[in-house]
Symmetry: C2
Subunit: 99 residues, 2 copies
């Protein structure tokens, strides 16, 4: 049965799963990003957003860690991706109201 | 200045923006998915999830349309992507507890 090639949206969802797993699987609980794993993820995948500033990364972790267990589960990770995507969307497409 | 190639996570965020814009920009408000645009998006990009069943698509739209304005903005669209990603993550990685 020929496998239909995934759509752009399906590839994006696959990427989210693969990237989270790549970093969450490095140590400890494979379903959560530890502080160290999150820092490695941010400095590798989203360095342009944090300029590799540990203080910025730690603050982001605190805000994202909704259940304060010191780790980020997949939903908390998606909130980060969503937050960045909305910020980019607003910056690129939503013109600021004219004064 | 050589443009560093985007990371997998950055490409994914770019895709989310591009796909949303591709469908939201077809008619009416370019920053929102109308019911028709959402149906076209689902039947093109995520047909494997809905089997192109209009009733399924309409039910999803109602649940996603948090502010009930009959359209989906980018945040409501991201909630869909996040919901599907979490469902896939749980199905693939989170083994159901042994009875």
């Amino acid at each position: 049965m020929s496998k239909v090639s995934p759509t752009e949206t399906e590839r994006c969802i696959e990427s989210l799963l693969a990237v989270f797993q790549r970093y969450a699987g490095r140590e400890g609980d494979n379903l959560k990003l530890s502080k160290k794993e999150f820092r490695t993820f941010m400095n590798t995948e989203l360095a342009s957003f944090t300029k590799k500033d540990p203080a910025v990364v730690d603050r982001m972790m605190k805000r994202l860690d909704i259940n304060s267990d010191g780790q980020l589960d997949f939903q908390e990770f998606l909130n980060l991706i969503g937050g960045i995507a909305v910020a980019c969307h607003d910056a690129l497409l939503v013109q600021p109201p004219h004064p």
